[in-house]
């Protein structure tokens, strides 16, 4: 039963991203060409809502279902890798028009050829793991 809440959260996520068309290659092209507010509105309002929810829950000392205080891990302060890795990711994101959430959602939506993207992204992560120590 423990896994069901994660399964349902994922189902909800898949529905929201498909209904918002954020999984669409066309929407990503449109975003990077600055020809629509749609994606900026989605990301912007998600961040603002998320900020409010996190701040409120910290103020109210909300506990997780496991009984611990709400505590998000700090992101590692590796700015160079964030910028370089981010740029490489951005190249792939714009070309595939999908990122690691949407690629799975699109598979469920019946676009089975997206499995090429899924498999090659697993390969990319694998190669990163091999060379991670040698990167700037």
């Amino acid at each position: 039963m423990k896994v069901l809440k994660f399964l349902f959260t994922g189902i909800f996520f898949g529905i929201v991203l498909t209904k918002s068309q954020a999984v669409s290659w066309y929407r990503i092209v449109e975003m990077f060409r600055f020809e629509s507010f749609h994606m900026y509105g989605i990301i912007g309002s998600a961040v603002v809502t998320g900020l409010i929810l996190l701040q409120l829950s910290k103020k109210m000392n909300l506990k997780t279902t496991e009984g611990n205080p709400i505590n998000l891990p700090e992101k590692e302060k590796k700015y160079k890798s964030a910028l370089l890795g981010g740029t490489i990711f951005g190249l792939g994101w714009a070309l595939a028009g999908a990122c690691p959430g949407p690629m799975f959602i699109l598979f469920g939506a019946g676009y089975y050829s997206i499995s090429i993207i899924i498999l090659s992204s697993i390969l990319g992560t694998f190669v990163y793991g091999l060379v991670a120590n040698r990167l700037p």
Binding site: L7, S20, A22, Y26, F32, L53, G92, A109, I117, A132
Partner: protein, 185 residues
């Protein structure tokens, strides 16, 4: 029913995505889809060749259930919660894409010029998809997260490295769109 079947506007979708992020935090986890790629490497035995994958993947099993759910969510939406109306993207985008050889979207979410089974028969198209996926998987782990981990969770949590990563996402995205698209397509 129409409200359910028609596309959802940004101010409905954005807060709902934040809800997903918050639910996972409330469950004591964090929202990060790309971590699953690392977990999948670990399940496949990659821990034998790199310590980066040498961890107890069962600790991350919950996130694979999120993946399973998102696949089901995509299926449910296409089967039961959609119309066959074309995606209404900006006509300027459509004409720019037509110059690159892409037809206007019909009811499809992704272009058949790249993703149809017919397109996969072209080694050139196949290579494009493989390179795109490789960059996604490599870049996201190098950056320490993707759109969900950095753009949504990290920015909501006021993490400076996430802002830097998102700036990187856009440098890469803009380079691809303006510099490489005309070369590739």
């Amino acid at each position: 029913m129409d409200a359910l079947l028609n596309p959802w506007t940004w101010y409905v979708s954005g807060p709902l995505i934040a809800t997903v992020m918050f639910l996972l935090v409330y469950f004591g986890k964090t929202f990060g889809m790309s971590s699953n790629l690392r977990t999948m490497c670990s399940i496949g035995g990659a821990g034998k060749v790199s310590s980066f994958f040498d961890f107890d993947w069962k600790q991350h099993q919950w996130n694979l259930w999120v993946v399973a759910g998102s696949i089901i969510g995509g299926f449910i939406t296409i089967q039961f919660l959609s119309t066959s109306n074309p995606i209404e993207i900006n006509p300027t985008t459509i004409s720019a894409l037509s110059e690159l050889g892409f037809s206007a979207p019909k009811s499809n979410l992704i272009p058949s010029e790249l993703f149809s089974l017919e397109a996969l028969k072209s080694p050139y198209n196949l290579a494009i998809l493989i390179v795109a996926g490789f960059f996604i998987g490599f870049g996201t782990r190098y950056a320490g997260g993707c759109t969900s981990g950095h753009a949504i969770t990290g920015l909501s949590n006021l993490q400076l490295p996430s802002l830097v990563a998102v700036i990187g996402f856009f440098i890469g995205g803009l380079l691809m769109t303006y510099l490489f698209f005309p070369i590739i397509f």
